[in-house]
């Protein structure tokens, strides 16, 4: 790549989350201080006597909006990807019968953390109980981790490429980084990018319980996810999807698209420290933020706001705040949307990037729910109580994943 970077803008977005069945209702619920966390509505909790009985389940079942026959061919994580992608595509003004962009110039990049494990488990049960004949011929396309990306490509006719970053809880943000690169390198004019996750089931909850990462505040589900608060005891597993339509700015302007924000840069790094624990020095995280800021042609002092990864774990939140201070100083105003929405794993980075962009667009930082006593180790300005109205020109979204994946993306005002 030579010369000035290509300007990449956001022309559409979609989401389905524990806060709402689309992007608008999700954002509205976030600003209103609603919680998407509740008692887990599934029999496995009692059957296995799991100590964690709460989760952040979708506000709207995808099968309510996807035709029955299409839905039965899709794993739940693919269903949510389709729901968010359709909304984003229509929102970008790309829907309808007349193609507005050559399919060969459209790519799909949709990440997931876990993928179609529910299908894997269900079909394995069928193999055990009924033998080969009971196994669905759709098993493999439903369980493969590139499934959400593939079904979005198929749904929208995206033929420039289909890619699936798999970096645990950083997948959704990493997808935006890949999308940015595809546009920079001239591979696509439009990229439908984001993340999808829907795997709240016995084995995932049990696995996270055993790694001591989930909150067990079962009696107060809405107060369980409390990033940066001294009373935090782990994250709340959620499900959902977020998709952004990213576009080469001159292409978007030529077709008269509405431009909502600018994806100005990204930084991807690895900790190579521990398989689940973050580097206590936060060096990988701060390097990701610095790379992102510099790739956007900015200085750390230009960043007004950080939409934090902060999941409500004891170690992670304070580590991130240290990494933010190290990379960006103490000026940025922080928020942690997992307090409301729970942790959407592979979708988190995409949905929270959408929040970051909307914060800039609307000049408002959502409050961090349940932040009553700020951990003294944080030493930064975290918005709590009410959303804060403020002019924002540049903001970072952080997403970090098991495996040492660090992804930071920078949005700027258009």
């Amino acid at each position: 790549m030579t010369g000035a970077p290509v300007e990449v803008v956001v022309t559409g977005y979609g989401a389905t989350t524990p806060l709402g069945g689309d992007a608008a209702s999700t954002w509205e619920a976030l600003l209103a201080g609603k919680s998407g966390v509740g008692r887990t509505d599934a029999e496995f909790v009692e059957r296995f006597d799991l100590p964690v009985k709460i989760s952040a389940q979708l506000a709207v079942e995808p099968t309510e909006v996807i035709p029955r026959v299409q839905a039965r061919r899709l794993d739940r994580c693919e269903q949510v990807a389709i729901v968010a992608a359709r909304e984003a595509w229509a929102h970008a003004g790309l829907g309808g019968d007349e193609p507005k962009v050559e399919p060969e110039r459209v790519a799909a990049v949709v990440g997931t953390g876990i993928g179609g494990a529910m299908t894997l488990l269900g079909q394995d049960d069928l193999l055990e109980s009924g033998g080969l004949r009971k196994v669905s011929p759709l098993t493999v396309p439903m369980l493969m981790p590139n499934g959400p990306a593939a079904v979005v490509s198929l749904e929208l006719g995206a033929r420039a490429g289909v890619h699936a970053p798999v970096s645990a809880c950083a997948s959704g943000a990493e997808a935006l980084a890949w999308a940015y690169r595809l546009i920079q390198e001239g591979d696509a004019d439009v990229v439908v990018a984001g993340g999808a996750e829907a795997c709240i089931t016995g084995i995932t909850v049990a696995g996270f319980v055993q790694s001591r990462t989930l909150s067990s505040r079962n009696d107060e589900p809405e107060r369980a996810s409390r990033p940066f608060d001294t009373g935090r005891d782990g994250f709340v597993l959620g499900e959902g999807a977020g998709i952004l339509v990213l576009e080469r700015a001159d292409f978007a302007r030529a077709r008269g698209a509405t431009i909502h924000g600018r994806l100005a840069g990204h930084g991807l790094t690895a900790d190579a420290y521990h398989i689940t624990g973050p580097d206590p020095e936060g060096s990988g995280q701060s390097r990701a933020m610095l790379k992102a800021v510099r790739s956007a042609g900015l200085e750390p002092s230009d960043i007004d706001h950080v939409n934090c990864h902060a999941t409500s774990t004891v170690v992670g939140d304070v580590g991130e705040s240290a990494a933010i201070r190290k990379a960006l100083g103490d000026r940025p105003v922080l928020t942690a949307p997992k307090s409301s929405m729970g942790h959407l794993v592979g979708a988190a980075g995409a949905v929270e990037s959408l929040f970051t962009m909307l914060s800039i667009k609307e000049g408002v930082v959502p409050a961090t729910l349940n932040l009553e006593n700020l951990d003294p180790g944080v030493e930064l300005d975290v918005v709590a109580g009410e959303p804060r109205k403020m002019e924002l020109n540049a903001a970072v979204n952080n997403s970090f994943g098991f495996g040492g994946h660090n992804a930071s993306v920078v949005f700027t005002k258009v």
Binding site: P67, R68, V69, Q70, R73, R133, K134, S136, P137, L138
Partner: protein, 80 residues
């Protein structure tokens, strides 16, 4: 033992369940692929459900020969 009309009716229900085609639109002369737009994955599902419903075996090499709904009805009638 189901007669041909009962087999057609039962098969049509399976096609509707698997492929979303209205059972009323499934008739003997229709081709699974050309008329009903059923892909090879859905054909496997339909065959497995038909085997259970009518107590027949539909080996893969036979499945490939069942081009129309009528072919399937005839095969099931002869082999149930």
């Amino acid at each position: 033992m189901a007669d041909n009309a009962e087999i057609l009716s039962g098969l049509s229900e399976i096609v509707e369940e698997v492929a979303g085609i209205d059972a009323g639109d499934v008739s003997a002369e229709k081709s699974f692929v050309d008329d009903l737009d059923i892909d090879s994955l859905s054909m496997v599902e339909i065959a497995v459900q038909a085997e259970d419903k009518f107590g027949v075996k539909i080996p893969d090499e036979q499945l490939a020969e069942l081009k129309t709904v009528g072919d399937a009805v005839d095969y099931i009638a002869k082999n149930q």
